[in-house]
Symmetry: C3
Subunit: 140 residues, 3 copies
């Protein structure tokens, strides 16, 4: 197993950027299974205040399918921008990530709406690939 | 000729970020020749729905001069933010790039306006430098 | 002393991104001393038109404490997004940085407000760490 500890901080930062880009493009395309596949099998994901976190990859899939049904008739395109990523290597080899996430919501013919959030992630590297082990989103 | 295939994915990602920053800063300063110079000589550029793509570097220059004449009397500053870049190496050594591009439009004394787009690029590396060979912009 | 000249441009770009993320997260958390500590001891910082630049790290602390008192009763969360970073190595080993900075201002229950700026920095590397030696912010 390759651990993040073997990566230099600059390479790790770039890898996290690549990870977030691929992860969020899947979410924005409503590829829920693909998005959930970027989490570890036992991950925890808390994305909405007052809503209990979903657990396990299967639980995340179920939670997001339920969550997206609210938007089923809403022609809204979301774009999750993750940036200003600040990483901290933990002693167990996991990576704490605190990053800004600006959600752009676009409906046809209307100006975009924005939601400003901060993502608190724990990332782990398994066989040279990053995964989200836990995610907690706070809202400004 | 150095090809992108010789770069590791992390270095390539960073190089694409540097490329987009320099390219878009030129566009936003209305340095149209400088911007066109970041495309290959035979490039194709499709930036506006319903408007046929411009072809060749000279064609891009002509197209953008014509396009910017619309704004000649408009004291608008544009800022093209490219992010969430997802790259895929093609077998011919070119690089497919799918990236978010948020366009910020600022007029004096007014709140910024935003346009949310996705840039679908083919990048190529020539003599160690990146160029855009084709660009298609889709609008949310 | 390690100088930026010893870094390749890709590594330097990533290091600048990491620097800005950590620097701005401190500012947004109103950790003014921590933010000022990312400037050199003799730095110059000009952030608001018509306001004289603050000088020295101690001067930056004082200036920002005074500046933030205006917002003391304002439940506003700011998020400084720095991106589209374009770096140029100077002959003295310092690094010119021209980057976009989009400031997101969020107040409870209200849609975010935005300010579009460009940051003109001179960064220097001291003992392998980046610092801002001067910063001038222009507003779109």
């Amino acid at each position: 197993m390759i651990t993040a500890a073997t990566l230099d901080p600059d390479t790790l930062h770039t890898r996290a950027q690549r990870f977030y880009a691929a992860q969020m493009q899947r979410l924005d395309e409503r590829d829920i299974e693909g998005y959930a596949g970027t989490f570890t099998i036992d991950a925890e994901f808390s994305h909405t205040p007052g809503r209990p976190p979903s657990r396990t990859r299967a639980g995340i899939v179920e939670d997001l399918h339920e969550f997206h049904r609210r938007f089923a008739d809403d022609p809204m395109q979301r774009r999750h921008w993750v940036g200003m990523i600040d990483l901290a290597l933990a002693e167990d080899g996991s990576i704490g990530s605190t990053a800004y996430c600006l959600v752009v919501k676009v409906r046809p013919g209307q100006p975009p709406e924005f939601v400003s959030t901060v993502v608190h992630d724990v990332l782990v590297e398994i066989n040279g690939k990053l995964f989200t082990r836990s995610r907690h989103v706070s809202y400004d």
